[in-house]
Assembly symmetry: C2
């Protein structure tokens, strides 16, 4: 049996194997945030001819079903099929996004003034051939050459001894070593016969609870080549870290949760390498940045104590590991560095974020906030750093929101509503004519605009009389942001409730942390905002909904995904790696779960913008208008 | 189909699988120096009932065939069989030998005055349980405890992080680490919950070209528990190192040659562990000592450049490797230390030997000679060491000699011939009533006694008129040393030729080395002799045949297998390990293959005792008698 793809290519299939699985076996990956359980509805295909056993249509509208839409993970072919794959279902590299980012990153790296000194280094050596008078062994010859050049000592892991004799002789005693610095010594991670300084690539990865972002980086130039991202397939074990820890501990699924993230990473890395014809043996290093639980899952470490008082991780500063021992399908000897963490709930992604903002080297007090599945907030300066974590939920990354999606091509990232006509105007990432969903910045925009236009009240309820776009949908009352051909994009009241809860947790985190640190918002010189919102976050809109404090606009700086930016810096510079460890060591952690004032602040934040409207004078005046 | 063993136990078998293989699958190991090719004839069994497909009887006499003897590797069952296994076929641990050796070794270790500081150390730590106020990670807690005790830093290879969280909590934060010292740091090689200082074992291995000897050592007390030995199954790829290198290089058999020695070692170690009910996870460390080629084969390193001018090994000082990466079936994380080598033809076994003799710390000049498959000779003192290698062949280890065997139970180790009556008296290792073969010391005795009794002439030819024991056998003229029931033990003229060539190479090595170093035999304070001769080597007899120089008897010291003795010392003491590296660094090597005087000396040595009879005045006078 065969499935014919849009390209005309035929791939084999079987009645008992889902279409998602058959596609995967051919190297074609569909978005699948639930990991194939039929609950996210993202792996859509359109069956153009042939019949299939469709086991679930739960996530499809009647109209979509009529048009032949099906969920690939729950559809089993009954005969030869011809299918189409809508663009929004395809897992692809974000080629377009990368170009802009690449320049910004390089600029950032130059601003810092660090040397380009990637964690792996290529050294080409011309050894003198042995003679009866100079008959030391191959290994000693190599070490002697390095030390005679003042390059220090050389550690050769046993496995590299195996090919040394042949590699040294293949190109007349010219040999290139790929090495890392470990305990003041060069440690070999790969050996090439002859001169082989380039190509040399590295991989920087942000493992978010909801989203995984992978950067392919040219280490010789410090250039971001491309980006790929996907939902973390661990989502099938729960949306948040706690649920996943329960799965790992009580359902003995640690190995499966670990494999889920490793296979996501393998897929994205292979996709990037293939797209840019990068040979896998020219990838020399991986750096991963993630929260403490994600880092534990990535490494396969038991996370059970993270969940239980006194909340202890196995490690905060992780020993170096190698691709082979983690199941990463690259050269098994390349190093995998994990960002150091601070505590069970302030992880490597936050340390990475601080590294990217540079607030750890400034005199003035700054605040850093990373809005992902959790919201972590750090206050401090060059002298001290203090952090909290508040459980915001994954809605800004698209999860738990009916038409939510990550900030990739096709996502509505900006929404404007004319206060007079209540006409809606949208901006879509990649300028796609047809949006596929709405990402975090779009949600914030939409809620702020609806609120100001009077469509939404302070309690987060839609006012049906105010707009024809308000209707009753599957999840209750909803607002249509975009009328699509067969697929409208809406925000429902449950969606809005999710967003309000998230923004309340974040604002409560700010105020509690400031209180504990003994400062007020006025003492804060700058607020760095990170998160998977894409290129833009309209800070004024985030203030209107009460997520951010009402401060002069110039104090805010939206930084995008600082976790992966920090990983990029770490990969390119040994100095940055040392700074990251210093940040982790210096940062203190305040446990909010035992803070009464946090709970009070959170409850007060469940209104738009806030119960204490006087903290938002500008919004107050806008409301009056 | 079944084979019934002498014990009454029935084991499964199949027509296509040799009896040797079927026994092996049940954990019953027969001696098999050719590795199952039917050429050594050592894996004898006796078929008592049932019929079998016997594919070779080449190594059996008609009498033996009549009695039901068969070669297990070339015999395939055709129906249910009942078999007997003669004692000489069984590969067993040398329990009896060990008891004596254990005392000698411990005495030697005490004489040296080194502390008992095994290469792996057990550390039991009681950690303070974490609290909300003391909430550092498990790893940091462990490191903090170690450093607060002044025990220095701790390196945790990634794999030990995996179980750390559970191991720490299992016995209420008491934990035992098994560690090695590596670059001034403790490196974890195993973790046990709770208090677990003992049992702790180590393995010292001598990998000879012909024979492999394995010591099981109780690291906590420094006691040799038991010894096991076998022929190196690499013999099927050639008797000497050069033939095996050709096999590895030109026939691409490196992997198979490597596997042969690894599987020999695995079998012997498992046998020892089983015999002494030692749990495999209580074995903490392996040390191997072998010549340069054997070390390369053991590690799987390409040996091709060892054979070609300018004779370069991949390494002389080997990086630490781990059991897992070598295919050793113990805890994959335990360290495997390989003795440092000096050059392509003076290896770790010689460095180990020097370590055992202690000549590297003496003022006076000593000579060390190790007679294995090669003969290596070292001269020097605390200031300098100079070495040569001369190809002696494996005859003293039993290979290439019709009834030759290793110095284990059942071997004739001493021979006396009454010069008058020409009656023969033998001494057998283990006082066995029925000898199974003759070992190196027995051969030397036999030839010296035959020579003195006039049975053998100076050219190594038997004189048939002198004894009724001289007869014509399968290999030509032979002398019957022992009349057995169905199996006589003989030395044939080709056997004697082999032994004469070996002793000539050894004596030529002595004289050439002395010449080059600018000394004479009179300057030498002591001659240490090593080799697989068992407990005894009658030095006077070795002088009579012209293998050793005629010097006062008290100058000679027979040391047995110094390679494994040195490995024992290395395993028990970090100081010994440092000394071994110092010995390897200090020793110079003289290439005999380009020495004309060595060739001349060798040719002169092909007589008994020597062409230059005046160098052996005592032998000369004995001959006159």
């Amino acid at each position: 049996m065969h499935i014919t793809l849009p390209s005309g290519k035929k791939i084999p299939c079987e009645p008992g194997v889902s279409i998602l699985q058959s596609l995967r076996e051919e190297g074609i990956y569909l978005t699948s945030s639930c990991g194939g359980k039929g609950t996210c509805g993202k792996c859509r295909i359109i069956i153009q001819s042939g019949s299939a056993d469709i086991q679930s249509t739960m996530k499809l509208s009647r109209e979509e079903i009529d048009k032949g839409y099906a969920i690939a993970c729950k559809t089993y072919p009954a005969e030869d099929l011809v299918i189409d794959m809508p663009k929004e279902s395809m897992l692809t590299v974000d080629g377009k996004v990368a170009t802009g980012k690449a320049e910004d990153l390089l600029k950032l790296f130059r601003t810092i003034g660090a040397d380009l000194s990637p964690l792996t280094e290529r050294l080409t050596l011309q050894l003198p051939p042995p003679t009866l008078d100079d008959n030391i062994s191959d290994l000693e010859r190599l070490k002697r050459e390095l030390s005679s050049k003042g390059l220090g000592c050389l550690r050769v892991p046993f496995r590299f001894l195996l090919g040394l004799s042949q590699n040294a002789r293949k190109e007349n005693w010219k040999i290139t070593l790929s090495t890392i610095h470990s305990e003041d010594c060069h440690e070999i991670i790969n050996v090439f016969p002859g001169q082989h300084p380039v190509p040399q690539y590295g991989i920087a990865i942000d493992i978010g609870t909801t989203t995984i972002v992978v950067y392919l980086i040219d280490l010789s130039k410090g250039i971001l080549v491309d980006v790929a991202s996907t939902y973390n397939s661990q989502i099938r074990f729960g949306d948040d870290v706690i649920t996943r820890i329960v799965h790992a501990t009580e359902h003995h699924e640690l190995k499966n949760i670990n494999r889920a993230v490793i296979s996501d990473i393998n897929e994205l890395v292979l996709l990037l390498a293939e797209n840019h014809t990068v040979r896998l043996d020219s990838i020399d290093c991986l750096v991963i940045s993630g929260n403490t639980t994600m880092t534990h899952f990535f490494l396969g470490l038991d996370p059970s104590s993270i969940r239980e008082e006194p909340y202890i991780p196995t490690a905060n500063i992780f020993p170096l590991s190698y691709a082979g021992e983690l199941g990463i399908t690259l050269n098994p000897s390349i190093p995998v560095y994990s960002f150091p963490c601070v505590s069970s709930y302030v992880g490597g992604d936050i340390v990475s974020g601080i590294l990217a903002t540079r607030m750890h080297e400034k005199e003035e007090i700054s605040i850093f906030i990373d809005i992902g599945t959790n919201g972590e907030i750090v206050i401090g300066n060059a002298e001290w750093l203090m952090s909290v974590a508040c459980s915001a939920g994954p809605c800004f990354e698209g999860s738990g929101i009916r038409h939510g999606m990550r900030a990739t091509n096709g996502a509505i990232e900006g929404v404007k509503i004319d206060p007079e006509t209540r006409e809606v105007e949208i901006r879509v990432i990649g300028d796609e004519a047809r949006p596929m969903g709405i990402c975090g910045s779009g949600m914030i925009d939409a809620i702020a605009e609806m609120f100001i236009a009077g469509i939404l009240n302070q309690k987060g309820k839609l006012q049906p009389e105010t707009s024809e776009r308000i209707r009753t949908g599957e999840d209750g009352t909803e607002f249509v942001i975009y009328y699509g051909d067969g697929k409208d994009i809406v925000l429902s009241e449950p969606d809005i409730e999710n967003i309000v809860r998230a923004k309340a947790a974040i604002y409560a985190g700010f105020t509690t942390l400031l209180l504990e640190a003994g400062f007020s918002f006025d003492d804060v010189h700058r607020i760095y905002i990170a998160g998977g919102f894409g290129k833009f976050l309209d800070v004024e809109k985030a203030v209107i909904i009460g997520m951010l404090p009402e401060l002069p606009k110039e104090k805010f700086e939206y930084m995008g995904n600082t976790s992966v930016t920090g990983a990029y810096l770490f990969l390119l510079s040994r100095k940055m790696r040392a700074e990251a460890e210093e940040i982790a060591r210096k940062m203190t952690y305040l446990e909010l779960s035992i803070s009464r004032s946090f709970m009070d602040e959170y409850m007060s934040g469940l209104f738009i913008p806030h119960t204490n409207i006087d903290a938002f004078p500008v919004v107050k005046s806008l409301m009056k208008q």
